[in-house]
Symmetry: C2
Subunit: 157 residues, 2 copies
């Protein structure tokens, strides 16, 4: 493993869990989620995520990208979404907490506008990860949109 990955090495592996989504413009929903972090010896983690509806298992969201630790406890994340949105996230990684805020949100011509996105991850145990995502979209101010708890289900590949 590349030594620069040490601050986020605890993320490696496959995680599964459940979350809830809320926003003023939609009905609340519950989802299942799987997240995978993997490495290839370079100074980034590859990340894929997918969610599904808890009621009937239909696929909901997905995202993919890369996590890049930087000197001084900083962290950069690049994400692509099938909704036509890209995110550049920058922030900090501490022992038990990662805080990120979008510095660039790109979107395709057909994508809905997203004005702001923050992501906070809390390591609640060696194999427990909690996060929330706050979003400013559809004319609404930045507010919590997603909250989930994930459990590690496999060791790093």
């Amino acid at each position: 493993m590349h030594p620069d990955l040490a601050p986020i090495a605890f993320l490696l592996g496959t995680w599964r869990g459940e979350g809830t989504g809320v926003y003023p413009t939609i009905s609340g929903f519950a989802y299942g989620e799987e997240v995978r972090f993997s490495e290839v010896g370079k100074p980034f983690l590859a990340y894929t995520q997918r969610t599904w509806a808890l009621d009937d298992g239909r696929p909901l969201h997905a995202e993919a990208g890369y996590w890049r630790p930087q000197p001084g406890g900083r962290l950069e994340v690049v994400l692509a979404h099938p909704t036509g949105v890209s995110e550049i996230q920058e922030g900090t990684v501490g022992e038990d907490r990662i805080e990120l805020a979008a510095t660039v949100i790109g979107r395709t011509g057909s994508a809905k506008e997203v004005a702001g996105l923050t992501r906070t991850f809390e390591r609640a145990g060696p194999d427990i990860l909690r996060y929330h995502v706050a979003m400013a979209a559809a004319g609404q101010p930045l507010q919590v949109h997603l909250t989930a708890e994930l459990h590690r289900v496999s060791d790093p590949a």
Copy 2:
């Protein structure tokens, strides 16, 4: 499969091949490549790509994202790179040709500047895909950076 995927359904599956990279600011290089396109019943293809050096097999680049066909032969692509760069690509898909140009290029604080990116794909046979990527970066004008030919090695998953 979602009906909106018809224009790019020929991409589904796993592709492997070789390519070459050139740019005025670097030494030319040869690479192996694997590309996967998959679908989950929604109107996008998930895309992952990785390349390796042909001389010693070490990992080189990778990218991941989503392809979103739109009405009227238009196509949107959202990509994340481990180099700290995100791409929003928009363009057209014809019977044997896809032409894309970046409309938004995001980058993290530590990423190198990329001023322009275009991607052209040519379907040279039922199971042959050729592409080139042109890039404007490091103060250089837009010019061909990557050229490769891929062959389908597995049917759609």
